[in-house]
Amino acid sequence: MKELEVILDKNGLIVAFFFVGLLTWATDLISKKAFNGRVPGSALAIGLGLILGYVGGLFSEGENGLADLSYFKGLTVLGGSLFRDFAIVATATGASFLLIRKSGLLGLVSLVLGIGLFFFLGASLAWAMGYRDVVSLCTIGAGACTYIVGPVTGGALGASSEVIALSIGTGVVKTIAVTIFTPMMAKWIGLDSPGAAMAYGGIMGTSSGVAAGLAATDPQLVPYGSVTATFYTGLGCLICPSLFYLVLSTLLS
């Protein structure tokens, strides 16, 4: 047993690979069996990650959630800013100029409207709940866009671990809300054509939520919504920590 402990302790990153893989497998199963595939497995897995981060915080008095328990310390490497930023850049592979041309002006307008709407509503709600520093407001506003834009913005601006956790939580809630409410609201908003799906994808953004929500509404619309949603996270990572941060700090000073 002592040998195993040494191995686990020495190979933290590998333990993290194994642990996250196991967790993903379990949430995929839960998504299929308990939610009939309606809630994206990725949102469930990230939600479960947050819960485990909470459990880890109960057992240790540290600030790194589950990673404060020695066997799980590799999670800080796998989930650290280097791997995170590198992998997010790779998600741009899915985009191309052909897609940009396809989504056109409608796509651009809906993207800018959507990111602005979610960012400033998120930041206003954080203000209403008592947050006053620009970095925290900006991070939570970015989290209201997607659970990726939040930590990227928070990481770039140097937000606290607590605020970054909050921004991811906000993004996960958004993804699940979009997934659940899209089929209910589809008729009311007029979501019945490829063009409408493109505008919807650009405004809502969260790509897993948009894909799951459209699949439950009309599977034929999924590719159209995804065309614009693909750009949402990238554009958000570009303008939330720069332009929107500046706007926010000017508004607050």
Partner: protein, 119 residues
């Protein structure tokens, strides 16, 4: 594999450099939008390599691997954050996650109505 990885690494470094330069220029001690810049560079370089006819499985696999790794990375990050202290503001996560979604539904309805009357 390594060709795609190298392309990704090149774009990442170039993007981060731009972000750092922009941060210095704005007088903020932060990397401003480096990830976003890197994504734009990747988009351009992918297009360039494709136009040259040099795009192959090697490129696609190196990029695809990291593309797929990003959700697992976010899971690991979520599990290693200070969630315990964040929980006191949990109601904010619920509000800021749900409320804007409904306002966005309203906005989409208005936008789509405008579009239909214009067409």
């Amino acid at each position: 594999m390594i060709k795609g990885l190298a392309l990704l690494a090149f774009c990442f470094l170039l993007g981060m450099w731009c972000g750092a330069l922009l941060g210095t220029w704005l007088g903020i001690d932060a990397n401003v939008g480096g990830v976003g810049f890197a994504m734009i560079f990747l988009l351009f370089s992918k297009e360039y390599v494709m136009r040259k006819g040099a795009w192959d499985e090697e490129f696609a696999f190196g990029l695809g691997f990291w593309n797929k790794l990003y959700i697992p990375i976010v899971i690991a990050m979520a599990a290693s954050l200070n969630v315990k202290s964040a929980l006191s503001s949990g109601i904010l996560a619920l509000l800021a996650g749900i409320l804007p979604v409904f306002i966005a539904f309203g906005l989409i309805r208005i936008l789509l109505k405008k579009l239909k009357t214009n067409l």
